[in-house]
Symmetry: C2
Subunit: 312 residues, 2 copies
């Protein structure tokens, strides 16, 4: 009888793993390093070895395992195919099939990590129980995940939920990593908000606690904004405006129940969700009832929860 599922979240430095029961309750967690050498050929072998060790230690037989879900830090097509994953060195690869073979034929499903995190938050996190959810992960970059009818929208070319590259300001002179100009990621990531603040500091002589004194970080900008610093508030306002605009684009496309904001920048808290939601209302006049904005609650575990949900 099937009793368990495993969620695997592969990152650039470590692989997070979770053993869950069929209701999605977390039973155990373990972490292993990500060995990226030789085109990342060791990664799934290490994952399989660690899974087998865990099952053995806990006296779980592999026939009790319903399946394994895997989050991959790059585009994954609906059929599990990975064309290119520079973060791991994978090329032209079917990680789902490879891991299934390593585990003696157990069912494995793979998805993009940002999408899988969104699924996790919709399953057991901030939007638990909601079927239509958009998640934005504000970290070094900006990732996104789209859940429609309780399922990930991976997209035909693996670009579903690539919300960080929505062009919110075509007039932007600087290029984004993707080569485009004015992507959301250029303003709403940890580095983006610092760039916005620096521009504001250069463009005026206004007094600000952000001037001088060490490195400018996203955290410092949010802290000073909360303390009332006008220039820091303006930087946060710019970030919220662009996020509100991009969320409005999503809402006018798929109109979800909720937006979940996660990633390091989301530690800023309600100043962020309130700011975004106020711009969101302005940019969605046509929608009478508005989606909710929520802070992610699963943190780094969103990926293993979502990966588990892939096979549930």
């Amino acid at each position: 009888m099937k009793k368990y599922v495993i969620g695997v979240d592969i990152g650039g430095t470590s692989v997070k793993n979770g053993l869950f029961d069929l209701e999605g309750s977390l039973i155990a967690k373990w972490e292993i390093p990500t060995r990226k050498e030789n085109g990342g050929e060791q990664i799934l072998k290490d994952v399989a070895d660690a899974i087998n060790r865990q099952l053995l230690e806990r006296g779980i037989e592999s026939r009790e395992l319903l399946g394994v879900g895997v989050g991959v830090p790059g585009p994954v097509q609906t059929d599990g195919y990975v064309s290119l994953c520079p973060n791991l060195g994978w090329k032209d690869y079917h990680p789902d099939r490879a891991l299934s073979q390593l585990l003696g034929g157990i069912s494995v499903k793979a998805g993009n990590d940002a999408n899988v995190a969104a699924l996790g938050e919709a399953f057991k996190g901030a939007a638990a129980g909601e079927d239509q959810v958009v998640m934005l992960t504000l970290g070094t970059g900006v990732g996104g995940g789209i859940i429609v009818d309780g399922k990930i929208v991976a997209g035909v070319h693996g670009a579903g939920g690539e919300l960080g590259h929505i062009v919110v300001n075509p007039q932007e002179p600087l290029a984004c990593n993707c080569g485009n100009h004015g992507c959301l990621e250029q303003y709403a990531s940890a580095t983006g908000v610092v760039r916005v603040a620096k521009r504001l500091l250069e463009a005026s002589d206004q007094e600000s606690a952000l001037r001088g004194k060490g490195v400018l970080t996203a955290k410092r900008i949010f802290d000073e904004a909360k303390a009332g610093d006008a220039l820091a508030l303006k930087a946060v306002d710019t970030l919220c405006m662009y996020l509100g605009l991009a969320c409005a684009h999503c809402a006018l496309t798929i109109d979800p129940d909720a937006f979940v904001i996660g990633g390091g920048v989301s530690r800023a808290g309600e100043i962020l969700t309130e700011g975004i939601s106020s711009y969101f209302e302005r940019f969605t006049h046509i929608i009478p009832k508005k989606a909710a904005f929520k802070l992610a609650t699963l943190g780094n575990d969103a990926g293993i929860y979502g990966a588990a949900k892939l096979v549930l």
Copy 2:
């Protein structure tokens, strides 16, 4: 045995109806006027009467009918509920339940007309057989429809696919009908492109075939653009830029196989799909393979095909 479905497309002046077999082949079409008086209370009675007449004439028994699908010119929630439909006078209404009752309990499903048209084009039209499709209808306004996994994304608040109100230019001084500023509809509708051309004419002294000589229409602008008129070309380019931008937003959200462009303005033809697709490529650097841009092929019948598909 079930042999037939009926697709009903309710418009502001007339109701189009189609009888289909279970493969979705059109057997017969009929049209009746839309009687909007008294809160539109007659509309579905007229629809039911006409259906019963058709079945009688063709010797079809109602138990041979699998169901009836209905396209409604306003927001329809996933459960078929219509909160407000000013185009028909309906308020707080369940057209699916009402029509089902009028037809003796036959299964009825309702959807927004732009969504239903998108479903029609994905079923038997320009994107036949494709499961991930976005349709834009460029008419007096700009409508949209989103198909994910072969199904309409109606949205939690009925605003799925409201692509005409994506804000593509927050700097726009004029207000849209929705109260917002810079909605796609303000540039990409039949009236929108005329407004764009008038602005260009006012802003320069450049010679143009669009100056003087009668009323400026979308058709005339496209005709002169095809004939090489620089100012008309610039107006068409503006429209294509904003459409390309809005389509890029959709692609980075749900990443479809194809975009289908329909509505009166789409009669302009390939100048439109080529223009949009060139801006789309610019705004979707991150997506290696691009979605196709296609002209709608079902014209005014998209609604009845899509409505039929609702119950198939």
